[in-house]
Amino acid sequence: MILRGLWERRTLSLVVLIIAVVPIASAAVGPIYSAAARTTIVREAVRTAPLEGRGWRYTTTSGGIQAKVGAFTRGAGFTNPPIFGMEATSGRADDKRAFSLVWQDGQCEHLTLAEGRCPRASMEVMAGQASGFALGQTIHLSAVRRAEVGDAGRDPAPLKVVGIYRPGSPADPFWFGRTLFAPPGRPEGDKADALFTVPETRLDTYIVAGAVDFTGARQPEAGWTDYGIVFIDTDRIEGTDIDVLAAMQAAAENAGSNEDTIVFSRVADVLRVVSANAGSLGVPTLLVIAQLVGLGWMLLFQTVGDLVRARGAEIALARLRGHGRARVWRFALAEPLLLLAVAVPLGLLLGRAAAGTMIGALLPAGVPVRFPVEAAPAGVAAMLGGVLAAAPAAWRTATRPVTEEWRRTPRRSARGWVLDAVVLSITALGLVELLATGVITDVSGQSSSAMAVPGLVALGVALLAGRALPVLTRRLFGLTRRHGGLGPFLALRQVARGPVTAGSVVVLGAAFGLATFAVSAWSATSGDYEETARFHNGAPTAITVRPVEPRRLIEAVNAADPGGRTAAPVIKVPGPPEMVATDPARLAAVGYWRPELAGGRTLAEAAAALPGPATPRVWLRGDRFRLTADHDPLPKGWSVRLFATLRVPGQLRPVQIPLGALTGRSGTHAWNLPPGCAEAACELRAVRGETTPPPEAEEDLYVRVTVTGLATRANGRWHALDLPSWRVDEDPDARDGTFVVTVPGNQTLRPYTYEPRQAGVAVGALGGKAVPGLDNAYAGPVRTVLASAAGPGLTGVGVLVDLEQADRMAYGVHDKAVFQVWTRSADPAALERALEEQGLSVVSRRTSAGLAASFAGQGPGLALMLLLVSALAAAALALGRTVLALFTAARRRTYELAALEASGARVAALRVALLLEQVITVATGTLAGLVAGLVAARAALGRIPQFAEPPVTPPLPHEVALAPVAAVVGAALLVSLLAAVLVSEALLRGIRVERLRDAPA
């Protein structure tokens, strides 16, 4: 009987089913999509992590490595099979180098043989090319002894060199960041390239404890050290593995408390990134789902109510026949409950399919679609909305006087204001809280509830519109009665009285409000992502290269882009404050800039203010340095020693060399240059005197010293240098190379190659803070030539300076500095080739579009995408349901319309009436949605989380792109107009005078 009833009301039943399926599906999409997003986050974090963040090296000196690593990786389905290895360190007689004797499983595939072969038997080794060992040579290491004890104790084990290898790349993940050999082209230093052997060597050797290692310290424990390298497989790790990963990392850190075990890894950093991102995904996703499920509930509420009411006549009949209370209830609820029960599995299936499509379209390839356990209860919870709607409707039909079903007492069917008042006040509260909060930075916390405000605003505006429309039409009603034709009159009367009107406007308004908000938020957020990415990347493409001398970087870029219009050399030093040093003229051509953030000044103007003096620098190349100076005679008893401060390549600090004491009135002072200066030029950076007072000073010291000549000696020949223009720190006007040695107020003479306070474009509240400088020495503040709210390449408070000046000022380039070439070339690959030809080696390339995409892949971006897709789906559904409601309401009136036609009204007037009625309702709903969405966007944008970590700079424009919003609203209006036309035509066709014979439904 239930099934026959459902069949009887198949259209309505189908609508209920569809409308029930959608919230269930969207509730299920949430967890499924979240799980996949989480997986994306983990994979991305691991993939982009430095090598050491992608796994662990488990090291133990007490053996049993296989079991230990096995225990460590137990339960982790996302790790690759461990790579095992063993290692012993030793010195060698008459060799200052330290040697590592190493075996790592699979080593031969990762080393290129230069000569000979890979070791196969015990005590065979393979040595690096730079080690100086020859094929066939036997090496004795002091700590590696024979296993068997001879007469004089254990002899050093003879290790036979059977192969010579070329060092592999230290970047090869196989070595897990170990430096077992010096990179090609660099000398070995204190540590020789590793000797590779086979595991059997262990059986025939004995590693003596207490051998002296290369640092001279006695090693307390020196046996074989075993290790296992475990990599995370980014194709297998999933969001659900985060806990396991954290547990492994905790276990790794715990293992460190054990003396003989060390687990080396930077997975902790990865975990931090992951949890920040995953945290920022969770709350917004939940809220998005909650809003959609809420909207679904609203739709369900109306439709399920319709279904129950459609059974009103039957329920009345059951009551007339004296059926018991329980039976009547069952009668009323059976159909909707059955439908809802069917809707759950269907909804879950649909949700899975939809989530699968979304994941396929929005997330990186290869992210699996899983069905997390939370999805099912989420679906059931969404379905409960329908039950909640069915219960009161059933209660009403089951308890009101039976006779009302047959003869309706016209009653004032006013909706209570209570519900509206509650919704509106919650909305107002939410809005106030949102506006008071400012930017929500704490994405994981409760302030994310601000995400609920858009939904509330949409609902609030929709409720108001639903109220206002009948009132308005009632006003217009009088007008049409007097002037307009029959069509508008009928339409307005129906809208004003219509029970469908208010409900439809509310649902449509709320759904389109959410959709408009979603589209606005999405367009504004993508705009923000792009803007942020453009500034953070600095230029359309940023190519990161291996560090070289700044001069070489500049020259390489000049050669690769002789026109100076498409590429700029950049060195970035992380702060705070951050520093971006670049070629200003080139930057002006390629860098991203917004004059309105910089008081209207263009990048070219800003760049033009950056360069400093271009005077030649004093390069010293050779083994000895000589300085001649004239000076005042020294007062009695005083002695003054001159010092020169040099910048030496490869050293981050200034190097001082003594030049001897001043005597008489002039002199020539010479000293050996540091060894580095023979290969690469050092730079003279300062000259000053240091004083030693006599035991009892009778006179004050005041000696003027003038540098009159500079020379270096290379290859045994002296070579005079041009005197530079000079500057004295304490006396800015002195230019002639004269400075004063005195106490106090001793002066320092420098070649005038840069301004003491470098010109810089300041971004953010720098407040006179010292900037790092290329050498990260924080030598001093910059002179702000322009303040801008954002600058290319700067992700936080920082400065933009001239690279040439920064190089002149610094004593070297710090490890932390990142070397890049920025370009706006359409073919960055060609530029990369050109740069490589100039001897630079390209590490990676990042485009601002790629960076924007990676922002979109963060938690909030992923949540927003979910909102966008589902809000649009919900809006479509709401539109469908409204058209249907209008259709059924109008069909109920075909009787009335037939009567009108019979009494001579023209079909055209009826058509106008029907059309107008639907257009008014649908358009009001849609426009109310538009208003609500824009209001919500205005209030919430800039406050809802957009980034896992909100950027300090640039200021986010939050510009709502009009095109997509217009497209959505336009499409909605178009579809509703079309639907209105179709519905009215369908109805008009059904109007026949014969219809009058039937009883009015």
Binding site: E8, R319, L320, R321, G322, H323, G324, R325, R412, A999
Partner: protein, 270 residues
């Protein structure tokens, strides 16, 4: 014992601000086994009275006993049970009596759901209303007359003590109408079913034992064994039957003449 006893029943419908008095001071006693035809012009309140007798409405004032029970005091539950076991009802609109998508037999059993199911009786009833061949055809597709006959079968399905039928023959031809009347009378004879039948059909009212005419919300006249009587109401009010309106039109004045066993009314020209 009286099956129905109405004592000063008033029924007021409230619609918007307007109150419609559908019944005013109805006094009526119907004994067991009686078959009563309820007559009266449209809008007189016949259907309203029937709903009251079925316990579907509670009177605005006055008291109503069914089988000796004051329905004003019955709980909803006992009222449901009373309706299930003792009352059969045919509503004025034939389609409303039936569940459109169920077959004739299913409709009959639906009415038996609340009491003991009796298939024999169901078949019997269908045969008697001439629907034994209706088969699986859903009730909604039947003609108006068929629906009306089925509605009576449904109303009798639970072997009611009180049958309330609102114009059960309005869409029937003479022959079917006669079946219906026959069925009602048989129920009265065989099962002792008391019947109250609203009708405009003279042949129906003549076939039944007693007529009660409602006019303007009051019991205006009664007829027994072919003879019509006016009923003297609570405050001595008497409704002049419409057939005498040409002699004493409403709004005219009359002089009362006392007779031995009553009074006579004569038109007076003031």
């Amino acid at each position: 014992m009286s099956v129905v006893r109405c004592d000063g029943i008033v029924q007021i419908y409230k619609a918007h601000e307007v109150e419609v008095v559908a019944l005013r001071d109805v006094d009526l006693v119907i004994d067991e086994g009686e078959t009563v035809a309820l007559l009266g012009p449209s809008g007189a309140g016949k259907s309203t009275l029937l709903w009251l007798l079925a316990g579907l409405l509670r009177p605005s004032a006055g008291r109503l006993w069914l089988n000796g029970a004051d329905i004003g005091r019955l709980s909803q539950r006992s009222l449901d049970r009373l309706r299930a076991a003792q009352i059969g009802m045919v509503l004025q609109n034939p389609a409303r009596n039936l569940i459109g998508y169920l077959s004739a037999a299913q409709n009959v059993t639906f009415a038996q759901r609340a009491v003991k199911r009796d298939r024999r009786r169901a078949g019997d009833l269908l045969r008697r209303v001439g629907l034994q061949d209706a088969g699986d055809r859903p009730a909604g597709r039947m003609s108006g007359g068929e629906q009306q006959r089925l509605a009576l079968a449904v109303a009798l399905a639970n072997k009611p003590r009180l049958l309330l039928a609102d114009e059960p023959t309005s869409q029937l031809d003479e022959r079917s109408g006669a079946w219906v009347v026959d069925l009602i009378k048989r129920a009265a004879d065989v099962d002792g079913t008391t019947a109250v039948v609203v009708t405009h059909d003279m042949s129906v009212s003549e076939a039944l034992g007693r007529t009660v005419t409602i006019r303007d919300g009051r019991v205006g006249a009664e007829g027994r064994r072919g003879e019509d009587f006016v009923v003297v109401g609570r405050e001595g009010a008497v409704q002049v039957p419409p057939e005498y309106h040409h002699l004493l039109p409403p709004g005219s004045m009359a002089r009362i003449e006392e007779l031995e066993d009553g009074i006579a009314l004569r038109r007076a020209e003031p």
